[in-house]
């Protein structure tokens, strides 16, 4: 968003005036909350927020201009916090409530939504964690892996599905020339921790907590108390996050299988991709892997050059 004008337009007589007005209001609405979850007392240029708000928002007999603007400011942040918490329960459990809150606010301030849908809200979270490691220290490497995993879940849930490559195409194309694409909703992850098991345990814990409580949510509360979950111990984990029959799955992969899928996703022809599995992998195992992947519908025509590996 471009920098707002110094003062909101007194009159709105054109689309340009409307745009300036909307920049002013949107900058105020999206401004990070103060330490006590309210509208900041100062505007971006250091002037009193009370004064700035009163320049374009009318007070009424119960609320000042500042208080009316604050309602929108709080609703913006609470809504986006809710959305990102829904997307990232594992990351929140790993970092704890406070650290996750700091990360979420800093992320959304740096990367406000550029999409009409909240579905894409955490699409740049991995990038941001890498840019601001201090916000997740000393667990930055783990946080990066969880964020990758949780974004892969979003992609697997409602990502594009392309027509599956038919057996006839496979049969008539020489393996040395056959290049297969992976479905866009499949993400390959090479992780240093068993994030799949960790996320499952967090979801189970949250589900149990939800079932055990009959306390209604309080409207407007920004954060529910979430204690940090025990962190996973390092253990290399190769996993594909995907869907089958429109249900979300995590499939652990043998290193050889992972290398084949990775090579295919990089555009290598079938024979070279299979060679990437390594000399110790027996052909019968490779056949079984392909049988399973075909049954899952993972292969499609190569439509783009995007690397499906997200590690």
């Amino acid at each position: 968003m471009k920098r707002p004008p110094k003062h909101a337009p007194v009159r709105i007589e054109s689309t340009d005036d409307l745009r300036l007005f909307q920049r002013m209001m949107a900058t105020a609405v999206t401004r990070p909350l103060s330490a006590d979850d309210g509208l900041q007392a100062k505007w971006i240029d250091g002037r009193s927020m009370e004064k700035v708000a009163s320049e374009f928002i009318k007070p009424n007999d119960r609320l000042t201009s500042f208080e009316r603007l604050q309602l929108y400011n709080q609703m913006y942040w609470f809504r986006l916090f809710d959305a990102i918490r829904d997307d990232c329960p594992g990351l929140q459990a790993a970092l704890g409530e406070r650290a996750f809150g700091r990360l979420a606010q800093a992320y959304l301030a740096r990367y406000p939504s550029r999409s009409f849908t909240l579905r894409n809200l955490s699409s740049r979270l991995v990038q941001f964690i890498g840019q601001r490691p201090s916000l997740t220290a000393p667990h930055t490497a783990l946080a990066l892996e969880i964020a990758r995993f949780e974004w892969a879940q979003t992609v697997a849930f409602d990502g594009e599905s392309k027509p599956v490559v038919s057996a006839a195409v496979l049969a008539r194309t020489p393996p040395g020339r056959l290049r297969l694409g992976l479905q866009p909703y499949v993400t390959l992850l090479d992780l240093r921790h068993p994030i799949d098991s960790y996320v499952i345990s967090v979801k189970r814990r949250d589900a149990m907590r939800s079932e055990a409580s009959n306390t209604p949510d309080s409207a407007g509360s920004a954060w529910k108390p979430v204690r940090r979950a025990p962190l996973p111990r390092p253990s290399r984990t190769l996993v594909a996050v995907h869907r089958h029959n429109n249900r979300l799955y995590y499939k652990r992969l043998d290193p050889g299988a992972f290398r084949i899928l990775e090579a295919l996703s990089q555009g290598r022809p079938l024979t070279r991709a299979i060679a990437a599995a390594g000399p110790g992998v027996k052909p019968a195992r490779v056949r079984n892997w392909f049988k399973s992947w075909m049954a899952l519908g993972w292969f499609c025509a190569r439509g783009n050059k995007r690397n499906r590996r997200a590690s």
Binding site: T15, L18, L71, Y76, S113, F116
Partner: protein
């Protein structure tokens, strides 16, 4: 109006919002519901479970699309990706009309995901109407714009909210989704008479109505959609139907969602408040 060009000449009755907690009940029990309103953005995806579910619903029910992010009042041009996906969904659902809000929520491509109130000026009305026309022409489906609940008013405004709504829909030649709960909420927050609002909008352009619950706080009312409809809103609804005719009516219940039957029974209470409109129609 029961059926008019703004709702695709459809004589729809009382519907409810299609919400996740009710999916299993709807698919397994197949309850009789006149129509479902879907939030368009929830299904503007490329694949997976949402579209599978939508297709199952479409096999059994009539569906009307309701959007939350077109932002007719934003100075920005409509987002092309948004429009393309919306058109694809319109073709899938065959929605007889489409609604979204008379508000803004994005600027310079940054989205607030909120329904922010407009400054009620003639220039803003012209820009908003221009966008509504553009979107309608692209989507090739009638459009109804919904009045939002609001918590702020602007010094720059040149008219009342209902005058602004009228100005926009006349310029755009589009319909109105009259949200009587939103009128009530805004009337309390801004100190106007909600009946003045209902009396002064163009009744022949109302293609649909919304009813919902709200929450009263010490200094303001929030449009929370987490309660049954409150009495003053039912009374306002009864008055609106007397003036506009018995319109397609939708109960919004989006938070602390109770059982399907509870939501549906609450929606069907609307039948108790349309006697005046029935008498007027005789």
């Amino acid at each position: 109006m029961p059926a008019n060009r703004f709702n695709g000449n459809c004589d729809y009755g009382i519907g409810i919002g299609l919400r996740v907690p009710h999916y299993a009940h709807i698919l397994s029990k197949k309850p009789v519901v006149d129509w479902f309103e879907i939030i368009s953005e929830n299904f503007m995806v490329e694949g997976g479970r949402p579209l599978e579910l939508l297709d199952k619903i479409l096999e059994q029910y009539r569906v009307v699309q309701h959007g939350v992010s077109m932002y007719f009042g934003s100075a920005d041009k409509p987002d092309r990706t948004h429009l393309r996906r919306l058109k694809s969904l319109v073709k899938r659902t065959k929605t007889p009309w489409l609604s979204d809000h008379l508000c803004w929520g994005s600027v310079d491509g940054t989205y607030t995901h909120d329904l922010l109130p407009m400054p009620y000026t003639f220039a803003a009305a012209r820009r908003t109407a221009e966008k509504i026309r553009l979107v309608r022409d692209y989507l090739e489906v009638p459009i109804c714009v919904e009045n939002v609940s609001s918590y702020a008013e602007f010094h720059a405004s040149e008219m009342t909210e209902w005058e602004f709504l009228t100005e926009v829909v006349e310029l755009a030649d589009c319909g109105i989704l009259l949200d009587v709960n939103n009128i009530y909420v805004s009337s309390k927050n801004h100190g106007f008479n909600p009946y003045d609002y209902v009396d002064n909008v163009p009744h022949d352009r109302v293609g649909q109505m919304h009813i919902a619950g709200h929450t009263r706080f010490e200094k303001y009312i929030l449009d929370t959609h987490d309660h049954p409809v409150l009495d003053p809103v039912w009374k306002l609804y009864a008055h609106a139907t007397e003036l506009c005719g018995i319109s397609a009516t939708l109960l919004e219940w989006d938070d602390k969602i109770p059982s399907f039957d509870e939501v549906h029974n609450e929606a069907l209470k609307a039948n108790e408040f349309i006697d005046g409109a029935k008498k007027a129609a005789v």
